[in-house]
Symmetry: C2
Subunit: 332 residues, 2 copies
C-alpha cells in the first residue's frame, strides 16, 4: 500500500496573502481505478494567476471557487499508471484538471492525450490554458492585421510570450512590456519581439513613442498598471484592446483607476474583457488555430520549474511578485 | 440687394471658454443661385456638443476642425427661396450642414428634404444627428435585448432622451442619469423612463441598486463623471458599454480617470467608442431603423430654442453648463 500527498484548501486569502497557512497537506493511500476509470500519476502541475480567484469566494467571479476542504484546483500533465478504461493504456501521457495531488482517479472526462511529439513541458506551456488564452484573445478578439502594431503587457509571461510570438508570425510589429531587463532581453533576443519596455525603469511615454512610431492597433492587457493609460492615449483609429488579466490589481485593496474614456470616442476604440471558462467548449477549435504556429517553430517558451508538490504553496507568490521567469510549474 | 448675417470662427477656444470673443459677425449680400444650385434661407440651426471639437485644432480628432476665418459649422433646416436645381422647388423644406449663417447656397449635396409631415423642430430633434447617433449607438452597438436593463447618462439630452425611449419601446428597463430634479421629472413622467438618478444630489450607489435590482446590461455613456465607475462595477456578465460622449471632460485640462478594468474580465464586458462621421454614409439605413419608433409615437422630445443667429455664440455654453432643457437650437 503506497501513499501520496494531496494539498487541500483550508483558508481563504482574505488579505491577499498566499502561503502555507492557507492549506492542509494530507497523506493518502493511492487508490485503485474502478471500471471505466484510470489512475494518473501527475508529473507536472501548472501554477496560474487565476488560482488566487479560485481560492477566493468572490460572488462576482465567473467561475466557482474551490470549496474549503477540497483539493486545490489546477491543471497538469501525467502518466496513466493503471487503466480500466477502454480509451487509455498504461504509459499514455495525458493533460487535464488534476488538482494539487500526486495521484488522481479519472473517468476520462476532460482528459486529453498529449499530441504526438509533444512533451509534458510543451503541453503545459503552449497547449495548456496559456496557449488557448493567447489564441482566443489575440486571434478571435484582437483580430490582428499584418502591418499593424501590437503591444502586450506581461510579455514574458505564459500568455504574453505566446501572444507576441503569434503576432510576430502574423506580420505585426510587436512591443512587449516587462518588469526586468532580463525579461526584456529574452523577449527581444530570443523571442524576436521588436522592442521591450521595462515598466519599472523606462520613461513609459518616451519609450512607447520610440518603439511604436505608427502607434498601437492592438493592446493585449495582462497586468494593469500605469502604462495602461499611456497606451490607450496612443492608439490608432479603430484599435482593439483585449483585457485578459489585471494581475497588478488582483491583490489590491483599492484597484487603481483606469484610463479616461475620451480616446475611446476620438479613436472609436473597442475594449473587450474575456475569460476562458466562456471558451473552453471551443478548445478543439482553439488548439487547431494554435497548432500551425507550433508546427512551424514559431512558439518558443521558457518554463520556471519548482520541485515537489508542497513547494506550490509558497511558489504561487512568484507569480504575483513577478519573479517567475516563464511558465511557472511544479515538477512532482 | 438684401444683406444677411454670417458668423465666422476667429479664434480657437484654447482655454475651453466659449463666447463672442471666438467669432466674427459679418454682414453679407444675399447671393443668387447659379445653374444647378439652390438658395436656402435657414430657419432653425442646431447647436451640439461636438461643436467644441470642431472649433479646436486637435490632431487626435476624427473630424477636420473648422479653419480660422471659415463660417462656423452646424446642421440646420431651412426653406428653398430660389432654385435653379431640377430636384428642388421654391418652398421645399430641407435639412443639411448649413453653417452659422442666415442664407446658404447649395448644389444639393448632403441636403435632404424633410419627410412628409415632419416639421422643422422634429427634423432637428429626432431625424438630425441626435436621432441617428441614438440609433447607431443603441441598436447597432448596444444590441439591447427585451427584459434587459439599460442606463443612459445625459438622459434628458438630445441623444439620451431618444436612446431611453427607444429602449423602453423595445421592452427594456430604463434608468436615466440627469443633473436636475426637473429633468428627472421629465424623463420619468413624460418620457416613461423607469427611474432617474440625479448625479448631483443622489447617493449614486444606493440609487443605482434601488432602481436596477437586476443590475445593468447596457450602459449608454454621454457624459463621463463619477457615476461611470459605479455603473461599470454594477454590470451583468456580457454587458455592453456604448461610449458616445464625455461632455464632462471636453473642457477639462486633466480628464478624470476612468474605471478600473477588473470588472471587464470578471463580467466579460465590451466597451465600444463610436463617432458618427464613421456612420453617416449609412444614414439612410439609420433613418429606416428610427422611423418606426417615430411613426408609433414612441419618441417625444423637447426643444430649447434661443432666438437670433448671434445668440448662438453665448448660447453654446448652455450645453456645457447642462442648462439646456432639451435639444438646443437657434431660431433664425
Amino acid at each position: 500500500m503506497t501513499t501520496y500527498t494531496a494539498i487541500h484548501l483550508k483558508n481563504r486569502p482574505d488579505d491577499g496573502k498566499i502561503g502555507e497557512h492557507l492549506f492542509e497537506v494530507k497523506e493518502k493511500t493511492v487508490p485503485e481505478p474502478e471500471n471505466n476509470q484510470v489512475l494518473v500519476r501527475q508529473t507536472y502541475m501548472s501554477l496560474d494567476p487565476a488560482m488566487l480567484g479560485w481560492m477566493t469566494a468572490d460572488e462576482e467571479s465567473y467561475i466557482a471557487p474551490v470549496e474549503l476542504g477540497e483539493v486545490m484546483r489546477s491543471s497538469g500533465v501525467g502518466t496513466i499508471v493503471s487503466s480500466r478504461h477502454p480509451d487509455y493504456s498504461e504509459g499514455d501521457k495525458v493533460m487535464g484538471m488534476m488538482g494539487w495531488q500526486e495521484y488522481v482517479i479519472s473517468d476520462g472526462k476532460g482528459l486529453n492525450k498529449l499530441q504526438e511529439g509533444v512533451d509534458e513541458e510543451t503541453a503545459l506551456c503552449v497547449f495548456g490554458l496559456p496557449g488557448l488564452t493567447a489564441t482566443q484573445g489575440l486571434l478571435n478578439i484582437g483580430q490582428p492585421q499584418e502591418g499593424e502594431t501590437l503591444i502586450v503587457t506581461g510579455a514574458a509571461g505564459s500568455v504574453g510570450s505566446i501572444v507576441g510570438q503569434m503576432a510576430k508570425a502574423d506580420g505585426l510589429r510587436v512591443i512587449g512590456v516587462v518588469g526586468s531587463d532580463e525579461k526584456a532581453d529574452w523577449i527581444t533576443n530570443e523571442l524576436g519581439f521588436d522592442g521591450a519596455i521595462n515598466y519599472k525603469t523606462d520613461d513609459l511615454q518616451a519609450k512607447l513613442e520610440a518603439l511604436a512610431p505608427d502607434r498601437i492597433d492592438v493592446f493585449f492587457e495582462n497586468t494593469g498598471g500605469p502604462i495602461q493609460s499611456h497606451i490607450v492615449n496612443y492608439m490608432n483609429a479603430h484599435a482593439r484592446v483585449v483585457v485578459c488579466g489585471m494581475i497588478s490589481d488582483y491583490q489590491a485593496e483599492t484597484p487603481a483607476p483606469g484610463p479616461n474614456w475620451l480616446p475611446l470616442i476620438k479613436k472609436r476604440i473597442r475594449i473587450q474583457g474575456f475569460a476562458m471558462p466562456d471558451h473552453l467548449d471551443n478548445s478543439a477549435q482553439l488548439i487547431a488555430q494554435l497548432t500551425p504556429y507550433v508546427q512551424q517553430g514559431k512558439i518558443k517558451y521558457r518554463s520556471h520549474i519548482i520541485e515537489g508538490l508542497t513547494s506550490a504553496m509558497e511558489g504561487l507568490n512568484l507569480l504575483f511578485e513577478g519573479k517567475n521567469k516563464g511558465k511557472l510549474m511544479v515538477k512532482l
